[in-house]
């Protein structure tokens, strides 16, 4: 009985730990993705009408930035629903 209770407690604590870790990681991941989005937005600024670095800087870096370009595209696709994403991330119903 005691062993069962102990196992249950251990699972509960490790589950709590996992949930908290995932939550903290989720927010940081969202921030990290947003930074990557800003990075590519700055590099390709002239594309969207904002000041951009000299073209050759972007040309040197773009071949290394496929992930950022993908995020940039996703951001553009989901731009109409950013509020829903934010509320989901912060657990607001």
């Amino acid at each position: 009985m005691l062993t069962k209770l102990w196992t249950y407690l251990k699972d509960f604590i490790s589950g709590m730990d996992y949930v908290h870790r995932e939550k903290a990681a989720g927010i940081t991941q969202w921030e990290e993705k947003e930074l990557e989005n800003i990075f590519i937005l700055l590099l390709t600024g002239s594309f969207s009408g904002i000041p951009a670095p000299p073209a050759f800087v972007a040309a040197e870096l773009l071949p290394l930035l496929s992930r950022e370009i993908k995020i940039f595209n996703q951001r553009a696709e989901n731009s109409f629903d950013t509020l829903a994403e934010m509320t989901g991330l912060l657990d607001i119903d």
Binding site: R21, E22, A24, A25, T28, Q29, E31, E32, L35, E36, I38, F39, L42, L43, P53, P54, A55, F56, V57, A59, E60, L61, P63, L64, L65, R67
Partner: protein
Amino acid sequence: MKTVFFTGKGGVGKSTLSAAAAWQIAQKGYRVLAVSFDPAHNLGDIFETKLTHRKKRFKDGLYLQEVDLEKAASEYVKASMNLMKEVYGYLQSFNMDSYFSILKYSPGIDEYAALTALEKILAKEGTNFDYIIFDTPPTGLTLHIFALPGVTLAWLDRLIKLRKEILAKRFTIHNIQGKYAPEGVLLSYKETDDNVIKKLYELRARYSRVQEFLQGKDNQVVLVFNPDVLSLKESQRLLFGLEDLKLPFSIGFNNKVTGMSAETVKNIENELRKKFPSLKIQRILYSDNNLTAGYKLEEDIISPLLKGV
């Protein structure tokens, strides 16, 4: 190796004076390379010889070269087009890759091409010559070329800062989760593993070298002007620009001075001295002898240059 850039409004005599300086320095026994960046390309006319983008020996210790900015720009565009064609190789089968030729009209290509050509000459010829004398394009383009390393460095610094923040976030996620591999791809969180920040550092090192060289003690920018109001106005703009860019200038050549213009000559020089008190001014008298073999100028124009650099 020391360098001197002859700058000024179009038609003031930059090419003639840079040619004369190169000739006079070579006469002193130094190894000199005179390079023309001016699209008008008068250097060959002044030395009465045909020049190309490859350096040509004029006499012992004096070599001449003309940089074809249009060709340099085309080469850069060609490299960019090849990169695009590599990525979008399938378009070649539909003959659609030709649309990338529009790249040659991108703003900033000329400045970048000129700066790259300048970097190449400094790297290749730095050890072969004691002096490299540059004849520059008209004021606007010259200032843009000089400003390019600083502008690029400002952008690179901001991008490096942002990339460091991205890596720091990834490091945090890595610490929480054990690894950070969205969609099965393990993302780098250390600077030593991240190709983007390595490329940014590489670009920063490259442009810092150019910037340090341009602002360094082995470089000197010389102003050439004529005794007229338009030349004065443009010279003032140029000197303000050089001051902003922290480029070393100390000598101004008041070129094509005639006896008729004595009062104007004085007024123009006073106007320049008022705003730039440290600028030394030397007058070069207009002479019909300059019409042929213009590089053999009678006036000594290199004593202040040799002292200055």
